[in-house]
Amino acid sequence: MPRSQSAHATALKVESVRETSRPRRAMRETKRLSKRVVQKADGRYLIYYEKN
């Protein structure tokens, strides 16, 4: 975001507290997939989701 837009930069302010815990209902679900993250030559990430 360009600094010149600072009048509206409040939209990007970091929340001091973020909700990071997974909802209780979702935690009960068994994972179907495993996840493998690799980095591409240009720095971008690529994620393989594979059957457990």
Binding site: M1, P2, Q5, A7, H8, A11, L12, V14, E15, R18, E19, T20, R22, P23, R25, A26, R28, E29, T30, K31, R32, L33, K35, K40, D42, R44, Y45, L46, I47, Y48, Y49, E50, K51
Partner: protein
Amino acid sequence: MSELRWHPLLEEWVTVAPWRQDRTYHPPADHCPLCPTRPGHLETEIPEPDYHIAVFENRFPSFTAEQGRCEVVCYTPVHDSSLGEQSVEHIQDLIEVWRDRTEELGRLRNVRYVYIFENRGEAIGVTLSHPHGQIYAYPFVPPVMQHELKAHARHQRATGRCIYCDVLVGEKGGERTVLRDEHWIAFVPPFARWPYEVHIAPLRHRNGLLDLDAQDSESFARILKAMLQKYDRLFDIPLPYVMAMHQKPPGRGGIDHHFHVEFFPPNRSRDKLKYLAGSELGAGAFIVDARAEDTAAELRGL
């Protein structure tokens, strides 16, 4: 990075990303960047010879670095396929991927909304035909979601109820229902702006993908597949559409929403498209050529 410019009249952000002008445009099938890399061929975005489901950062992103993320979700390694052709089990796997991305992208510092969507078909402007969707992790809450969240909050203050739950109460008669099971409904909303617009929603109040349990996910997969199969039977063509998932913004415990998926096929018949023209694009006022009750009956009967 993109430049975010504020539209003072509409009070919304416009994202300027000039490099997207050079993005890959309708490559031949044997040069598809979303296929696995075949031995002896050029390396694609996915270097391995096979995959189940793969996600990568868009090479031509609208948001990157501290602004957010743009990801491509490759549903299947099979080039000539579609989301609706996947098995229910595979779609359940995909739902798990969507959930994982919602959680991970929602934790990024400046991300205010994780938007999962699919553009399908050339009529929608798709430049790669391989079955895939996208995820935008925005540094702001997009205008449509802002409108919805505000309407929801106003309704909740006035009535104590969720506005979308009340919309679903209005569908009990079934006149606009396309598909329904114990947990989910697919229906043409009475306020549809496109002839074959459909919403898929959980009947019980769920905030978003992270709020779904295993039973919700299985039912969601079944109804999503069935709806997409109906769409392709409608005119006996792979029906173009935009699929848009609306869920609660991340990290905002107090904000409530009712998860739902909106589908916008541009077709009003097999050969005719609805265009956004003077009233829709210039004034923001949609004129729709069909009654939701009639198109729902047509889709229900397929």
